[in-house]
């Protein structure tokens, strides 16, 4: 498949798949709590509704930051699925997250401020492991390009079990799931109102949701990359990873931010760095 075809499939298919995955997430979560849960299509209903609502802002410019956030998240995924450089993908993703944080800062409300600060802390927590993942993949395949990594003959997870587990750990942070739902919890009521998304409403909030759909597909795509040599196993593992994230979300209470950072860095050091150390010693 040519990169352009993959790109177009991603641009059109990712929001559909991402929305369905989030709907599925809410349903599984409900079932885990012995509830019936909303319909699978609920995220689409929500976004359609938000699109029709009034858009109230503290400062008009806060909406531009969110627009850039959405654009850059889409761009990140586009780079990834077109088979581009993994390092570029990581930094594009970081830039997207920074725009989101800037938007929240711009709103200058105490809740969105603290949410933004916590989002930065979360980024600090997952960033080392994400970089180590890219480095680990490079050490095995001798390339930072996603299309080279995807066409590697054996599953990367065999050579990178530690990096794989460490990446799953960061997935939990990246999805803002409990125990790492510090900056903005999708569950009812938290001490920060809605954290980083507090001051966004209407269409802007819908854009944040859509960005979240793209992000979900992109991150699961990265999980797939660990088993890309046999596609069906890759897809299966990605879905299992998603269910695992939901399970952890429902089982754990939230951690303090100190514990979140410390644990993420310990995981990065032991699983990520340890794995890479072993690899370099073996070669």
């Amino acid at each position: 498949m040519s990169p352009w075809v993959r790109l177009i499939i991603y641009l059109l298919g990712a929001p559909l798949l991402g929305g369905l995955l989030i709907g599925w997430d809410r349903r599984i979560s409900a079932r885990m709590q012995a509830r019936l849960g909303p319909p699978i299509l609920q995220p689409f209903y929500d976004v359609l509704k938000l699109w029709g609502k009034e858009n109230v802002v503290v400062r008009r410019s806060q909406n531009h930051y969110v627009a850039f956030f959405l654009l850059l998240v889409i761009f990140t995924g586009a780079l990834f699925f077109a088979g581009s450089d993994l390092l570029l993908v990581i930094f594009a993703l970081t830039l997207a997250a920074i725009f989101f944080v800037l938007g929240a800062y711009k709103a200058s409300s105490p809740y969105s401020f603290v949410g933004a600060e916590r989002e930065l802390i979360q980024m600090m927590a997952y960033e080392p492991m994400v970089l180590l993942t890219a480095i680990g993949m490079y050490m095995v395949t001798k390339s930072f390009f996603v299309h080279d990594i995807a066409s590697y003959s054996t599953p990367l997870a065999f050579a990178l079990p530690g990096v794989f587990l460490g990446f799953l750990y960061t997935l939990e942070i990246k999805f803002r799931k409990s125990p790492f739902d510090l900056s903005s919890s999708h569950h009812a009521h938290q001490e920060l109102v809605r954290g980083i998304t507090t001051e966004f409403s209407g269409r802007t909030l819908a854009m944040i949701e859509i960005a979240h759909w793209y992000e979900t597909v992109f991150l699961l795509g990265w999980v797939y990359l660990f088993f890309a040599s046999t596609p069906w196993i890759g897809v299966l593992v990605a879905l299992l990873a998603f269910v695992g994230v939901i399970l952890v979300d429902n089982v754990f209470a939230r951690l303090k931010w100190q514990t979140a950072v410390r644990s993420a860095w310990i995981v990065a050091a032991v699983l990520g760095f340890g794995n890479i150390l072993v690899l370099s010693l073996l070669h």
Partner: protein, 329 residues
């Protein structure tokens, strides 16, 4: 069926409830009732919510909070009063610190009776609220689609109830600026507005300001309404006395503010008082927006007067050298 019916997000506030209704409200989220299957999310953020559930009677401490939350909810929004206390004040109605049901502070769309209201009744209330939400959304869309067709017409006494309702909605923002409900426009009764139309009242006379006392014998009273889709979305009243015309209460529905409707209303009423050489208006000293608008229309301040500890009126005037001849209209 619009997407509103499938995704009603709720914010719940306890005004001064005994917690009976609160517990029943939260029971709706439990596995037994599970309102999330209807797409309901119990969000703690007014900016994300569509439906405002209030439990308990309103007391002096909660009224400001209720008003604040109500104003932070984004349109279209619906208010549901849950339980007897929230609906009418219940057994606390006569208490010295209770102002009554939620509708004494903000407009309520759905009342859920019961002490405590049962979860089934609350869910029923939410379902009814969804219908109101859709209705409001339709009205918003219809009006948004016909915004280019605002009609400016003379208003008559029969329009008074609609104008009064509009006035109460539009002046909420003023009450918020001053943190004071004594803003006369919010206190006005229908009888008083009728009297305004007949020119027999002191026209809201905020105090014994000289010009307003004289007004009791107004030469001519004119009310103008701005109409969209048969609904009054803006109004202005005024009366002429000798050479002067006194313009009063430029009211525009919050949805339509910032679209030049207020300025157009003032222009229309200035045209209606063709014989007047001088126009006078007054507004609160902290209503920056009003002051700015009137300055843009050529008005300038000439005196201030204290009305209440919170409110000071600023009087503004504008001279017109050549009165319009009545025929030029």
């Amino acid at each position: 069926m619009s997407s509103f019916s499938k995704s009603p997000w709720i914010i719940h506030y306890d005004a001064s409830s005994c917690n009976g209704c609160d517990i029943e409200t939260l029971a709706c989220l439990t596995p037994l009732y599970d309102v999330e299957r209807l797409g309901v999310v119990n969000t703690g953020n007014p900016k994300h919510a569509d439906i405002f559930l209030v439990t308990g009677a309103v007391n002096e401490q909660s009224r400001e909070v209720i008003r604040n939350i109500y104003h932070q909810l984004v349109e279209p929004k619906v208010v549901v009063a849950v339980g007897t206390c929230a609906s009418s004040g219940g057994i606390f109605r006569e208490c010295y610190n209770i102002s009554g049901g939620v509708d004494t502070v903000i407009p309520v769309d759905v009342y859920v009776p019961g002490c405590a209201a049962r979860p089934e009744a609350i869910i029923d209330g939410v379902v009814r609220a969804i219908a109101v939400l859709e209705e409001k959304n339709r009205a918003m869309m219809a009006i948004a689609n016909s915004l280019d067709h605002v009609l400016y017409r003379l208003a008559h006494k029969s329009d008074a109830p609609e104008i009064l309702a509009l006035q109460k909605v539009a002046y909420q923002s003023e009450a918020e600026i001053y943190g004071d409900e004594s803003v006369p426009a919010l206190q006005q009764t229908l009888e008083e507005l009728h009297a305004d139309f007949e020119g027999t009242s002191a026209f809201t006379a905020p105090n014994s300001g000289a010009s307003l006392v004289e007004s009791k014998a107004a030469d001519r009273v004119v009310f103008i309404k701005a109409v969209v889709n048969g609904k009054i979305i803006g109004s202005v009243g005024g009366f002429a006395k000798g050479d002067s015309a006194y313009v009063n209460r430029v009211v525009v529905h919050p949805y339509f503010q910032g679209r030049g409707i207020g300025r157009r209303l003032v222009a229309e009423i200035e045209k209606a008082f063709a014989e007047a050489r001088r126009f006078e208006v007054f507004t609160g000293s902290q209503s920056e927006r009003n002051l700015r608008q009137f300055r843009r229309l050529g008005y300038s301040e000439f005196k201030t007067e204290s009305f209440s500890p919170a409110i000071t009126w600023v009087y503004m005037q504008k001279e017109r050298s050549c009165p319009l001849s009545p025929l030029s209209n």
